[in-house]
């Protein structure tokens, strides 16, 4: 038993180092990873980096332009925008990653079951997938968010519910290919259970694709979180970049031309999304055999 586990660990280790050797050569992938690491550091060390607390009001006059004391100026409540942006990193990262994880799990399970079992199961699951694919995400997202109410957890659930469908489609078509492989047929002939075959033979074959899709999904989730918060449906207890833009829009900072309040949160969203897009495409190039020939 222990030996099995050791063996598993060492194969994992060699697989990972092999993967890392390929990944290292991808310039965009490395740039994305570097950008992501900076944001992770900002999020983890927010309490040390941010000069003021998230809820410290009137640390300056309202709408102060940038200065040495307030790098990005202040908002309508006299809060330090620089500190808000630093704290906002946490919400965007945590919601982005957990929502993407949840949506990948839902999409992965639906795709695996639909692709493996086929027939009526496939028909029903694909119709449900199509339903979520056809309706604009924002419609379901706004209605769901309004029903569930604004909270951190609800945001994650709502984003996962509206974003899982493309993953289900991708995984299903991959499963359809893997299912036809000789050793899967052999496993079936020997009498292995469906559950065993799915976990032991199908899942390992779609895991790399699932992982690459999850990374790309994080960028969608970050944008979705920003959109919901911008519309005022975010959790008011946690400052996120989208919410800073919501306040900027609502407080008239935009019409007054207070650029320091509007630029930084948007640039942060852009850079974090870009980081995940870079990493995602680098992974896709490695795991997606169709792209390798280019």
């Amino acid at each position: 038993m222990v030996g099995d586990f050791r063996e598993f660990l060492s194969t994992m280790k060699s697989k990972l180092s092999e993967f890392w050797t390929i990944y290292k050569t991808n310039t965009f992938g490395m740039i994305g990873l570097f950008m992501l690491m900076i944001f992770v550091l900002l999020a983890v060390l927010a309490d040390f980096i941010a000069p003021y607390g998230e809820w410290e009001m009137l640390v300056g006059r309202p709408f102060e332009p940038p200065s040495i004391r307030h790098l990005f100026g202040t908002d309508e409540l006299g809060r330090d925008v620089f500190s808000l942006v630093i704290y906002g990193t946490r919400v965007s990262l945590v919601i982005g990653i957990t929502a993407a994880l949840l949506s990948t799990i839902i999409g992965g399970v639906v795709g695996l079951i639909a692709g493996y079992f086929g027939g009526i199961v496939d028909d029903v699951l694909m119709r449900i997938t199509e339903a979520f694919l056809v309706v604009p995400a924002i419609v379901l997202m706004i209605i769901l968010a309004a029903i569930l109410g604004p909270s951190f957890i609800n945001m994650i659930i709502v984003i996962a519910i509206v974003t899982w469908s493309p993953i289900a489609r991708v995984i299903r078509s991959q499963v359809l290919v893997v299912k036809e492989l000789p050793y899967v047929e052999a496993a079936k002939a020997v009498g292995c259970s469906d559950f065993y075959i799915i976990f032991k033979h199908i899942l390992p074959n779609v895991t790399p694709l699932l992982f690459a899709n999850m990374i790309l999904q994080v960028s969608n989730a970050i944008l979705a979180e920003a959109a919901l918060s911008f519309l005022g449906l975010g959790d008011p207890h946690h400052t996120s970049w989208g919410m800073i833009l919501h306040y900027a829009h609502g407080s008239g900072a935009l019409a007054a031309g207070y650029w320091w309040y509007v630029l930084p949160p948007g640039i942060c969203i852009l850079l974090l999304v870009l980081a995940f897009v870079f990493i995602g495409y680098a992974l896709d190039e490695i795991v997606n055999p169709r792209l390798r020939r280019r």
């Binding site: 339903a131 309706v135 604009p136 944008l223």
Partner: protein, 325 residues
């Protein structure tokens, strides 16, 4: 499978999807906090008997399956009741100027984004690896990763607040009444410029990447080599052999993206106070106007199902390979 059978099969599938969406809608609007009469209890003068009567009228005293049946009936007949907010019929509120405004904004931006996407995509693919190509890729990735509402805010701040070239929002100027039709159109286009720019720029990045990659693939195809070997002028090869084949995947992808583009439109309309469906949706959620929300859900669902169906059939017509899958 012939085109007719394919169209019928996809039609049945679309109807199945429609019923799934109705069911989702039913559960969404039934679990909404309180039933539709709850908002009326806020009125202290309403006596319990009147509420009971209202529940009867709305069919809320019926068993759940009957409510479901009524929900489907109203969904199909377009009976969504009256707005809590201004008392107007929901259908009239949706199918009017607001729908027109959204269709004009989204339609124009989709067409513009396709044209620009094809042009710069072809340019980059034909000069693969050059500075032009790398520059265009960087440009498209940046716009692809940008929240559309933020881009809108930046455009608004630059062109409306600082330079005063365009209005701060709205669809037509309030002062414009009983003017010549030309002036009204000019004013409308003037108001539309900034939201249109934001919504188009966001789509270009995606279209560009699709066209560029498709053309790079096509350039390696044998028929392109053959066309060139035949001594056809490069212009003919580009238009007849390369671009024509590159348009195909783009058509489907744009059709698939339509839902995503609408999402962008809702956000853009919010930033620019554009009087469209997106803004109506935002306002309906803001004031918890459930009849309007329900009506919007129904109309948008039906519209996108039909659009998706048409796109599918069109694609099968253009590319017969799809039908044999």
């Amino acid at each position: 499978m012939g085109l007719r059978e394919y169209a019928i099969r996809r039609g049945i599938e679309t109807i199945a999807t429609f019923f799934i969406l109705i069911t989702i809608g039913f559960f969404l609007f039934r679990v909404m906090p309180g039933d539709p009469t709850a908002i009326l209890i806020l009125n202290p003068h309403l006596d319990p008997k009147a509420r009971q009567l209202l529940r009867q009228q709305l069919g809320l005293d019926q068993p759940l399956y009957m409510q479901y049946f009524y929900f489907i009936k109203n969904f199909i007949m377009g009976e969504f009741g009256y707005s809590y907010h201004n008392g107007r019929p929901v259908l009239e509120l949706i199918l009017g100027v607001r729908l027109l405004n959204t269709v004009i904004l989204v339609g124009t931006s989709v067409i513009l984004a396709i044209i620009i996407g094809v042009v710069i995509g072809a340019l980059a693919a034909l000069r693969r690896g050059t500075r032009v190509d790398v520059g265009l890729i960087a440009f498209s990735l940046v716009f692809y990763s940008m929240p559309v509402f933020w881009l809108g805010m930046i455009l608004l701040m630059m062109f409306a607040v600082y330079w005063g070239l365009f209005p701060l929002g709205g669809t037509v100027s309030a002062t414009l009444r009983h003017q010549k039709i030309v002036e009204v159109i000019t004013d409308y286009l003037w108001h539309m410029t900034l939201p249109l720019t934001a919504l188009t720029l966001i789509q270009i990045g995606y279209n560009f990447l699709i066209v560029r990659n498709t053309i790079i693939d096509i350039l390696m195809e044998d028929y392109v080599t053959t066309a060139r070997a035949k001594g056809l002028p490069e212009r003919v090869v580009l238009y007849k052999h390369i671009l024509r084949n590159a348009m195909l995947p783009l058509t489907t992808i744009v059709a698939l993206q339509l839902a995503g583009i609408f999402t962008g439109a809702v956000l853009t309309e919010t930033v620019f106070s554009w009087e469209g469906l997106g803004r109506l949706l935002y306002e309906a959620v803001d004031s918890r106007d459930y009849p309007v929300l329900q009506g919007l859900f129904a109309i948008i669902t039906i519209a996108f199902l039909i659009a998706n169906y048409i796109a599918d059939i069109l694609y099968a017509f253009l590319d017969p390979r799809v039908r044999y899958k």
